[in-house]
């Protein structure tokens, strides 16, 4: 980017990004993380150079959040970006003032590079792209012989406008935007951890074994894991307690869908929607087999094109509303906040994000050991789960804001009982 053009470097927030700045705080941070483990110890200075190089190629990330009269927007950020050492916090609040205004962090520890991103700026797929670019640049600066092979964006490419587009409004259909009211979801109970701490437990398994397991059941991996998650929640929290009043709410697993796979777009910004499972689990004899069929059916219904467009348009409709559009920002802020607290957060029991397979070019693979993904967990969604895989390592990461680890234990024991090896990583939050 030449120096003059940065005066007009600014971006509107995309449709899903508009809500997050208003509803985020130190408890509900709306931050997620993607990390990568390399084979050698990270050199801080070279990482800093790599990030600086990539940021000049991706002006979309070199921004700060500013308030306008009607909407907030991303404005060019002239302050320097600093990489930092990893702290204990998992997906902690990204405080603009402590972070030079940036809405993401790049951290390092031993052999790991960690990116934490505020959800307003991008979604999982966008961050994986950014991480790939940074790792490529880092290895390149170390003098390793790596080639991008069209799998990794490099800093020499020109930015294309397509990367910045708000794809949600592109596929907006005003005839198909009906709002369907939902019931409040079941909340996973437990003893809250103190001081906004987040517990993290991940299990590493063989991707091949897991794909085979899902296929034997005639399901995709996400479907299998979602069904298992529902079953685990049922067994550990609800079974034989069907008469308790809080158990009458349906268990709903929120599964984000990467819309780039369903609609033609290459945007780096938010372009995802969701499918949800939904079941009131008060019966005493729900079986895993039954849940597998249920999840498969509910996923098929939720993933039809018209249903995805409906959910997208439902969200876009509120920003197209003329009355809301021309309400000054400081009033609109409260409207969004109230709306979200009534509707958004409490409609899901937990979220289960499958970022999927991360591909690296062959020349980079010898330097990369594995990848990890994690999302924040808050007051209502006390347990969240994210899945990412690289080569034959599938990593399922649970983040929790409660002390209990019963669900994680039962979840992983299901696989060890089937004879699949599981290796656990934990941040041992209960020590503190």
């Amino acid at each position: 980017m030449d120096k003059d053009s940065r005066y007009d470097t600014w971006f509107r927030l995309d449709n899903s990004g508009k809500i997050f700045p208003e509803v985020s705080n130190h408890r509900e941070t709306n931050v997620f993380r993607v990390a990568i483990t390399l084979t050698e110890k990270i050199d801080e200075e070279i990482l800093q150079l790599a990030v600086d190089g990539i940021l000049s190629r991706y002006p979309m990330f070199k921004v700060k959040l500013k308030k306008g009269l009607f909407w907030s927007y991303f404005d060019y950020n002239s302050k320097p970006f600093n990489v930092e050492e990893l702290k204990h916090y998992v997906c902690g609040e990204i405080h603009p003032r402590k972070n030079n205004g940036y809405l993401f962090r790049v951290m390092y520890r031993n052999t790991d590079i960690i990116i934490e991103m505020f959800h307003s700026l991008a979604d999982g797929a966008g961050v994986v792209m950014l991480l790939k670019a940074i790792v490529y640049e880092y290895l390149n600066l170390l003098g390793k012989d790596v080639k991008p092979d069209n799998l990794v964006p490099t800093k020499n490419q020109r930015p294309s406008m397509e990367e910045y587009e708000d794809a949600n409004s592109k596929f907006y259909d005003r005839k198909n935007r009906k709002h369907i009211p939902e019931k409040r979801a079941y909340r996973i109970k437990g003893t809250a951890l103190s001081e906004d701490l987040t517990g993290l437990i991940s299990g590493v398994m063989s991707t091949k074994a897991m794909i085979n397991l899902a296929r034997e059941n005639g399901l995709t991996m996400t479907e299998y894991l979602t069904a298992l998650m529902m079953y685990t929640i049922y067994v550990t929290q609800i079974q034989y307690r069907g008469s308790v009043s809080s158990n009458q709410s349906p268990v709903k697993i929120f599964v984000p869908v990467n819309l780039r796979k369903h609609f033609p777009s290459n945007t780096l910004r938010n372009f995802s929607n969701f499918v949800k499972t939904n079941m009131v689990m008060t019966e005493d004899d729900i079986t895993f087999e039954y849940l597998k069929d249920l999840v498969k059916k509910q996923f098929e219904e939720g993933m039809t094109k018209s249903e995805l467009i409906r959910k997208m348009s439902e969200n876009v409709a509120f920003e197209k509303n003329v009355l809301l559009k021309f309400t000054p920002y400081f009033l609109k802020k409260y409207a969004l906040k109230i709306g979200y607290n009534m509707l958004g957060m409490k409609l899901n029991t937990m979220s289960l994000t499958n970022i999927g397979k991360v591909d690296f070019p062959e020349s980079m693979q010898p330097f990369i050991k594995d990848v990890t993904a994690a999302v924040y967990s808050g007051k209502f969604n006390t347990l969240n789960c994210s899945i990412i895989s690289y080569k034959d390592k599938l990593k399922i990461t649970f983040t929790r804001s409660i002390v209990e680890t019963t669900i994680e234990r039962e979840f992983f024991r299901h696989f060890t009982d089937l004879g699949i090896d599981v290796e656990i990583e934990s941040n041992y939050v209960e020590e503190y």
């Binding site: 005066y7 007009d8 600014w10 509107r12 500013k66 306008g68 009269l69 009607f70 909407w71 927007y73 404005d75 002239s78 050492e85 990893l86 702290k87 204990h88 998992v90 003032r97 520890r109 031993n110 790991d112 001081e195 701490l197 993290l200 437990i201 299990g203 559009k325 021309f326 680890t405 994680e408 234990r409 992983f412 024991r413 060890t416 009982d417 090896d421 599981v422 290796e423 656990i424 990583e425 934990s426 941040n427 041992y428 939050v429 209960e430 020590e431 503190y432």
Partner: protein
């Protein structure tokens, strides 16, 4: 690599128990293994929020005391005299929190503090029947001073002037108010109003001539719907 025989899982850690079932792990981890996640270090509390709290507390308590005394003696002396000290105390609070402790951009702080100060002085003027010294002299001269200092800051801190320019524009437009008041015969001393108006027009022309694109972009950004 350590092992939990209850959960059947492997784990690489220096901790002695299984994170899933809290049972003791068997096996050994090599000594050079570095934990993947760092230990928690409790943050030490900073001084700054406490200072803010004390100032806010003292402010509120004194405002309440003033109001109570004023209302208790209202029968003997039916004047709301307490508004002047209350306004001054409130202004002092804003001055400390926004002017000193806050890290907002400097042009915004100048613009807000000047506007509030003008409001306070007009209030004092009215309460004490001062005869209009506040809007005759103080308002135009304060605006001139604010305009002048923000312009100097922008010229000196050339780096990111786009952030300041909107507030400068706000104050510039505000500076035209004394002249309007003069035209409406509320203000009877013309020269301070003319000075403030002259400087405002000069700055406005300067911006339009030398930063036309940045001011246009800044307006587009802030007012997009």
């Amino acid at each position: 690599m350590k092992y939990c025989d209850k959960c059947n899982i492997k784990i690489n850690t220096h901790n002695s128990y299984c994170p899933l079932c809290q049972q003791t792990l068997s096996g050994e981890t090599s000594l050079d293994h570095i934990e993947k996640y760092p230990e928690y270090i409790s943050p030490t509390r900073k001084v700054y929020p406490i200072t803010k709290k004390i100032i806010l507390f003292v402010t509120i308590v004194s405002i309440i005391v003033l109001l109570v005394v004023n209302l208790a003696t209202y029968k003997e002396n039916p004047v709301m005299w307490s508004l002047i000290p209350i306004g001054s105390i409130a202004y002092f609070w804003v001055l400390v929190t926004l002017g000193v402790l806050s890290r907002h951009n400097i042009a915004f702080r100048f613009a807000t503090l000047t506007t509030l100060l003008i409001g306070l002085l007009i209030l004092i003027d009215f309460r004490s029947n001062g005869g209009g010294w506040s809007y005759n002299y103080v308002m135009p001269l304060l605006l001139t001073l604010c305009n002048f200092s923000v312009s100097v800051i922008i010229l000196v801190k050339r780096m990111d002037y786009r952030d300041y320019i909107v507030y400068l524009l706000m104050i510039v437009i505000f500076s035209i108010v004394p002249l309007i008041l003069y035209a409406l015969n509320i203000v009877d001393e013309p020269w301070p109003a003319l000075v403030s108006f002259g400087l405002a027009i000069f700055i406005l022309l300067f911006i339009i001539f030398f930063f036309p694109k940045s001011i246009k972009d800044e307006i587009k950004k802030r007012f997009h719907a």
